[in-house]
Symmetry: C2
Subunit: 224 residues, 2 copies
């Protein structure tokens, strides 16, 4: 699993600003960072993106626009995907994901607090709450950081989630639900598939190998 | 491989309109359709998307915004991905991809022509050119369709690319390059995986099973 930490806080507390400040600090440590944001209002897209969004409205499941500097993907959904599914599908090659929002989901969280926005959002005892960032002194048992000195928070994130982490991954899912694989079973899949792959033509020394198997059970689909 | 067909034509010939007309016709046949567009100017993003794009600029490799009705993903790239890589990464669960542009890439193409925009863009002999859509009579050896009667074109696409196609897929790549697997090797991977998976806890009768294996060769990466 790719580790994920979410920034939570009251509206106006500076969640986006905190994310933007943490990003270069983590990136400069050499990690590939993705950002996932929970929105409620949908989004509008301008210029070239407009056509992509038109396509998505016109019946495409996915519309993608590719440019030399980057790409944008728009996907229609009947129901919202979980943060875990989102990451597995769209950010599988990241080392770490910083999220914004997802206050109710179970995942490690950092609360950002500003004096102007009132009381703190979460209690210290809240499951998964790792640290607090605040522009005023607050009483907390948790590690406390100033929004103007975030390097120690980036170090804490690295220490907790990134250092010494295995970068190999075996992910299995059926109908979008993740199937848990214990380390022994993961090793078994990895060794066996590597052994099968190694004699194939076209396998040269690699930095990164990806195998994706996608199997549809037509019989069950035909008779649900 | 997911089949892809690109709509090409001179500026103003109606590429986007043709895509939008074909989409519901293919969709009503029960296929999941993705759209891929080649842009040259980049894109701007409005409203909620603005933050996602800010994140991407601020050092995230990927920024994703999730809403109840859909999601948007923005990804920075140092070099443009090939249509094949784009589809493998972002549209792996589609049955078919309609593209716009990609005039120079090797893929099956449909040319859209309008009298006002001048001569036709491609010659009949152009590799991969499947059909022509034109609002005026043109001389062509290829199947010719009116933009106002596109059902036969949707039928042709289904016949050529979709009917009887196996929906199972085994994909292998190293460092982003696809490794070709012949049908025998694909079958071997599939059978072995199914046999390994079946005794696992959490495997119930499924419609779709996905395994993703991602291996990084740290030694090679450390001493390039």
């Amino acid at each position: 699993m790719i580790p994920i930490v979410s920034v939570v806080g009251r509206p106006g507390s500076g969640k986006t600003t905190l994310l933007e400040a943490l990003l270069p600090l983590l990136r400069s440590k050499g990690y590939r960072i993705g950002v996932v944001k929970h929105g409620v209002h949908g989004f509008d897209v301008d210029k070239d993106g407009k056509d992509s969004w038109r396509h998505a409205q016109a019946g495409a499941e996915v519309a993608l626009i590719s440019t030399p500097k980057g790409l944008a993907v728009f996907r229609r959904l009947d129901q919202e995907m979980s943060p875990e599914e989102l990451i597995e599908t769209y950010l599988p090659d990241m080392d770490f994901v910083l999220a914004e929002g997802f206050k109710r989901e179970r995942m490690p969280k950092i609360e950002i607090h500003r004096q102007e926005v009132g009381e703190r959002l979460l209690k210290d005892e809240e499951e998964g709450l790792l640290a607090v960032v605040s522009d005023v002194p607050v009483s907390t048992k948790l590690p406390l950081f100033s929004p103007h000195g975030l390097q120690p928070l980036a170090d804490l994130i690295e220490e907790r989630f990134l250092r010494g982490r295995s970068k190999e991954e075996v992910q299995l899912s059926t109908d979008g639900r993740r199937v848990a694989l214990n380390p022994f079973v993961q090793d078994l899949f990895r060794s066996l598939l590597l052994a099968m792959v190694s004699p194939l033509k076209g396998i040269v020394p690699f930095t990164r190998l990806t195998l994706r198997l996608d199997i549809r059970n037509e019989k069950k689909a035909a008779n649900p």
